[in-house]
Symmetry: C2
DNA sequence: TACTGGTATGAATCGGATA
DNA sequence: GTATCCGATTCATACCAGT
């Protein structure tokens, strides 16, 4: 398996991809939630919005959390449109969002041409909420280019229960590898998974482990470095596993 | 605890309710999903859509399943607007939907004036899907009139896992009582829960069991009869429980 | 290895003070 | 009134250390 990482703006890089070169898109864009007023949403950094005051960890901030709702929708639509162009027929696109952005996300998915086929909840640990229901779920909107490939003997779950990695976490929104490994199976074996918002590269790690190629784009040099290191580690480990028979 | 059932059109009945007479709205409107084309959605009856072909059971059809998406939104908005008017400050409104209607549902909730505060997934049993992700979740969009009452020491879960009742089921979309019992707790003790689409009356049964009053509306005479019977059973049972100390 | 008890923390939320 | 900042809050769960 191989991986390619681009440091740069997602949309700019996507435009350079050839048609029908991607077999699945799995990504977690910076969605612009959090905060009560529009200015709070657009002016505060991701860390300021999402990290509990007093939290001891010191994870780096990430860019892209400054769009208002309308611009988020059109930006995401354009991005998914380019992904659609670069995808093969039967390709699946999966986009993470929180509850606030879920409707906007499925709108953008459809506006970009994908056939919206479902919304999958997954449950990270979360805080309780006094006087009401705790918000314990996040969502993955998924869609297909054309129709699902019914010839594959593939049955994937419709919801995931897992929590964020706590140890060795390098990104505020890092996803558990076990969940990502399930998701990348939607990509045919040996195909290429695209993640325009690579972050710390969990999608890539999962893809490589599951025998898929990975194509990642990330704006922040800090995170490109981290993703590169993690992915290189995977390949080295693979080679090692191949070389020595034990375990 | 007491209950009131109206046989009639939801909107018509809602308009007759006095202002600020309702403490919570919990309902499962007939949403128009299923079917890939708008004509498929609007022409097939609820039974045809939701009941497995060849299934032997004989649940009655229910009305209201023939709206297209736009008209569904405006109809639901009007309905939720009337509910909003009839609700007290801090009242919570919860609306069930499937994944397809979830964005429309949160739109309507907000258009009606409620402050959308979250989307809760709940998982009924479902069939796997070849070549992709199983669609195992349905959603409850919830919102508040004004703001949540933070003085209550109430902490409710953010997702529910339960399967639809199989035995003793009297309505196609009947919800498990255990889930409904959790939901009705959002209504203050002794308050009144409104369900404009009572169906077989599960919301009412849960409300009565949890010590809330219930106000239900149902168009179908068939289901009003069933709901009435179930609710009367609850009260009788309550009386019995009160009379005899054992269990 | 399996259990147990202590501790840290979360893609938040809320009220209130300040500018 | 709006924007911004600050700090208190809440408990299920993962993690750790110790038996």
């Amino acid at each position: 398996m191989s991986y390619t990482l681009h440091r740069g703006d997602a949309l700019t890089v996507l435009k350079t991809l050839p048609d029908e070169s991607i077999d699945a898109v799995i990504t977690d864009p910076p969605y612009n939630s959090g905060g009560r007023t529009s200015s709070e949403r657009t002016s505060r950094s991701a860390r300021a919005k999402y990290v509990t005051a007093g939290s001891a960890h010191d994870l780096a901030d990430f860019p892209g959390e400054n769009r208002d709702q309308r611009s988020y929708r059109s930006w995401l639509t354009e991005l998914l449109t380019e992904s659609y162009r670069a995808a093969v027929n039967h390709a699946v696109c999966m986009v993470f969002s929180d509850w606030r952005q879920a409707p906007t996300t499925s709108d953008a998915l459809q506006m970009a041409g994908w056939t919206w086929s479902g919304t999958i909840p997954w449950k990270p640990a979360s805080r309780p909420r006094k006087g009401g229901f705790k918000q314990s779920a996040e969502f993955i909107a998924w869609g297909v280019k054309g129709s699902l490939d019914n010839s594959r003997k593939l049955y994937l779950p419709g919801h995931f229960i897992a929590s964020q990695p706590r140890k060795d976490r390098v990104h505020i929104t890092q996803k558990p590898i076990e969940v990502m490994r399930q998701l990348v199976r939607i990509c045919p074996d040996g195909g290429t998974v695209l993640d325009p918002f690579t972050g710390s590269g969990s999608t890539g790690v999962a893809a490589v482990r599951e025998g898929r190629h990975f194509l990642g784009v990330e704006l922040s040099a800090h995170y490109v470095g981290i993703a590169e290191r993690r992915l290189r580690g995977e390949l080295t480990q693979d080679d090692f596993t191949l070389a020595g028979p034990e375990k």
